[in-house]
Symmetry: C2
Subunit: 278 residues, 2 copies
DNA sequence: CGCCACTTTGAATTAGCTCAAATTCCGTGG
DNA sequence: CCACGGAATTTGAGCTAATTCAAAGTGGCG
């Protein structure tokens, strides 16, 4: 895929993380598809993602809502599958996983969540949580009662827009995760996992060259539909190919010297034959 | 959310959409799925997505919004990846698939959508669609401008609740699909696919004993992360085990004589060891 | 009737899993 | 400070399930 350099790339984000290079799936699409002539509503709905997005969430929350703060440590449970739902959680700091489990005991991490993400949406339709949310690190969440949020959003519609965008963003992330699980071989799946992680960090203005994976190989494996051995092997292979590096002292810290290289690695797996152009 | 289900709302809608008949079959489902008290999760899998749920969407829409109707035929595109987003689509009748495609050309159906489901959420955060939605059959969608919907939902908060519940329901479905992809072997994955399909039909008061899969084996395979051959083999095996039956004339019509048997089949694969009871 | 796309089935290949052993990390207590 | 033990990780060696490749069968539709 030729990287159609994009007309107006963000010059520089607030923090030093400029990975803008990574093909945010969506942007390249614009170029990839038949140029769609009816571009009338380009400005109708402003693109609402990126660094300013999560910040907006937090800011709006502070302005228009009363909410609680809750500090958490690693392995704390935010909510548990089966509990009654009445409040949502907005992540202020920290890292969280949500795990889904089937009645027969099958279990799988269903997503990773960062600063600015919401937790608890899964309880909305039924009034009862369908997953559990667990902290992977120390952090803080802001708690908002769902009803209060709905009421506040009548006064301040932007609040609702932000929340809808957040939900929709989760949908998109899930879809991408499914795509990876369904179409990528093990190595590339692990690479994609790291890339998405870096992507999520970059979106929030955090550094992406140094990732601390607060998960065991088993957790990663579950998340990706692989065994822990496969994850370990994949990471070793990625390290051997120099697309990642293990930080000395502790193999849980992973460096990504070059995001593009990681992205290319995934490409190279999907295009096994030397496809010259297109 | 307390569903104020009044058995007979709108007597006859303008369009002949005669759905009514709150169906008790769904209750059977509620009993069917969480029936497995294996371990702790008796309540772990809550009654997912209420029945009258989709009905409410359609009713509220009619009351509080102006919307367009659009009839579609098989293979029509509702929206295409990359197009600008400004309207949402509520499915009145028919069956739709949403396909996600990565910049490198990898493609995967990301979900199936039925009566009462919304299409188009994926455009919210970015203002541009990240997937394409395609009709698998003739049907009708109601179109609503996103901005109009937000405004209307200020006047009628229930509208927002319904929409949020719909989004959240999609999140749950995606999570379940991921779980299946990540934890089930091929045969069970196909079985689960059929079971979820039946489940979706039951939720809407449609018959579940006779499913017409309007998808090719290749589509199903893509959706489940399998090859078309694997899907074909899996279906053959399921038929051999009598948990499904092919309708004579056309292997695209599948009968499920006994949903419980299908469910048991999945169980039996996940508990390979002769686990006597529990 | 005949073409074409979809499907089924078989045989060979392989990616990823299971089983098993060795190694490293980290907290705990001497 | 160092020794110890448990947990996480790495790596290897078969094995199995799913893929790939290939060929034959079926149905729909002009």
């Amino acid at each position: 895929m030729t990287v159609t350099s994009d007309p107006q790339t963000q010059p520089g984000t607030a923090s030093g993380a400029r990975i803008e290079r990574y093909d945010t799936r969506l942007r390249d699409f614009g170029a990839l598809l038949p140029a769609h002539p009816s571009g009338r509503s380009a400005a109708a709905v402003p693109p609402r993602r990126g660094v300013s997005f999560w910040r907006e969430s937090l800011t709006l929350m502070e302005q228009y809502l009363t909410f609680g703060r809750r500090k958490v440590r690693a392995d704390d449970t935010i909510y548990r599958c089966g509990e009654a739902f009445d409040t949502l959680f907005l992540i202020s700091t920290g890292l969280f996983k949500v795990v889904n489990l089937a009645p027969d005991g099958r279990e799988q991490p269903a997503g990773l969540y960062f600063k600015g993400d919401w937790l608890g949406f899964d309880g909305i339709p039924t009034g009862r949580h369908g997953c559990s949310a667990i902290a992977l690190d120390t952090g803080e969440v802001w708690t908002v009662r769902y009803d209060a949020l709905l009421q506040a959003s009548v006064r301040e519609p932007m609040l609702m827009r932000v929340m809808l965008a957040a939900m929709s963003g989760q949908l998109a992330r899930n879809r991408d995760a499914m795509l990876a699980m369904g179409t990528l071989p093990a190595d590339a799946r692990v690479a994609d996992f790291l890339l998405q992680w870096a992507h999520a960090l970059a979106e929030r203005g955090l550094r992406t060259d140094q990732i601390n994976v607060h998960m065991t190989r088993a957790d990663i494996g579950n998340y990706l539909g692989l065994t822990l051995e496969s994850v370990s092997r994949a990471l070793s292979r990625l390290a051997r190919c120099k697309v990642i590096e293990f930080n000395e002292k502790g193999r849980r810290d992973i460096s990504i010297p070059n995001l593009q290289a990681l992205s290319d690695f995934i490409q190279s797996v999907t295009d096994p034959a030397g496809r010259v152009l297109q």
